[in-house]
Amino acid sequence: MVHQYKNNGYNIVLDVNSGMVHVVDDLIYDIIELYKEAPKDEKHLVSEKEKETIINKLTDKYQGQGYAALFDEYKEEGKSVESAVKEAVSEVEELIAEGALFTEDIYENYISEFKSRQTVVKALCLHIAHDCNLACKYCFAEEGEYQGRRALMSYEVGKQALDFLIAHSGNRKNLEVDFFGGEPLMNFDVVKRLVEYGREQEKIHNKKFRFTLTTNGILLNDEVMEFANREMGNVVLSIDGRKEINDLMRPSRNGKGSYDIILPKFKKVAESRNQNNYYVRGTFTHNNLDFSEDVIHLAELGFKQISVEPVVALPEESYAIKEGDVEKVYEEYDKLAAYILKKKQAGEGFNFFHFMIDLSGGPCVAKRLSGCGSGTEYMAVTPWGDLYPCHQFVGEEQYLMGNVFEGVKKAELQEEFRCCNVYSKEKCKDCFAKFYCSGGCAANAYKFHGSIHDAYDIGCKLERKRVECALMIKAAEAAFQEEADELEATL
């Protein structure tokens, strides 16, 4: 499968199954387009007759006005447009021969075997507090209560959760624990004691806990910051961007906005962590479809690790992202990508989580296609110790899997999650982005379609756009580098 598109002046060709990304000129772009449609043999090459048709078609096109710049070099050598087209076709065939274009999907059986292996639990999301001191309108935790009652996790339940994780983690060394809520700092004492317990236990069991804290910042103070900087591998700080946007959706329980309270604290956290290992994380909704302005606002405040993500809400909610909003969101992603490039070139770059992509050293194909791991490798724990496949399923009683005292009791439920992967989803079959989202979020699929083997359609569209922007940024960075290298060589 090949996906090709034009963005910000770059012609990008993604060979989906190998993951190879090619930046090409207009002529190559057209050749690949025609190759895509043409019948190919077992070596993915077209017949000589088909090749001739393609060459004639493109020679006709490129002999026309407006394409001279593509053939300057040839003109100087006295060669024809036809010979240039033939040479370009040879370049495309070279890529095919190298296994970098029109490669096959050879992973289905591999993933099926990979998924049937004995899995271990490697991460828990601890719902330290089902309570919150904000009343954010879009909160999937319903102001912290998750369709239930307010509660704080006791030390005993948390300790049992860490024991459960260690006991079910097999040989895996790195274990991840997210202190989540509601607002976890409403139960900070238990967070501190659990970290202390975890540090004792990791020595005994030869494990390494990586703790994360997700907070709205209201209760952040110097003591929390000092503790977080010592113990938390990552800190997620919730803020939506511009003051009026943040305060509209993230008011306190008395209706006042939270921006002025949290911003100075978040700046301090970011600086105290040397602008690393944290995210300011916001949500955009139908109310701020111009969300690139919120990202830019956060960047201008000096934050270097930024994540602003689309709200996931059913269409009946006034703030939901709707089908009619998608084009506007695309425009905003394009605008943001161009802004990020401009800042990078000026030496003022920052990371935008959803555009980050690691082409040269990213995850292996098993990771990319095997799904998010919810319900098997990753589970959420309620204040009472109940286990759910992930934080977004908490409160959905049919997804109650067991508890940290007795373990997973619904084996069939776990099996359903184990089988969930890119190949179990019809919608992923022809999608070029499947190697970057691993089949998407199971909870979102359930929310919109009642099945974890489906996919949340708007989420998929936005994911595809983000992948396109992320690859464009990589293409632009490579071009900048090449220019810089050429300049250096002339000095």
Binding site: N17, S18, G19, M20, V21, H22, V23, V24, I28, A88, L95, A100, T103, I106, A123, C125, R172, E176, F180, T212, T214, N234, V236, Y279, T283, S307, E309, V311, F353, H354, I357, L359, S360, G361, G362, P363, C364, V365, A366, K367, R368, C372, S374, E377, Y378, C390, H391, Q392, Y436, C437, S438, G440, C441, N444, G459, E463, V467, K474, A478, A479
Partner: protein, 46 residues
């Protein structure tokens, strides 16, 4: 090649040889809690 620039990319097919160790971070354990983003995660085994 004159008209094609291939970005420095890890060929996914090659990653089958040594992949699947499972030491990497779970997908939802970073900034995201509402989508699934794996393309930006790092491999612990490189």
């Amino acid at each position: 090649m004159k008209r094609i620039k291939t970005l420095n990319t890890r060929n996914l097919k090659e990653s089958m040889k040594k992949g699947g160790c499972g030491e990497c971070q779970t997908s939802c354990q970073s900034a995201c809690k509402t989508s699934c983003t794996v393309g930006n995660q790092s491999c612990e085994n490189q």
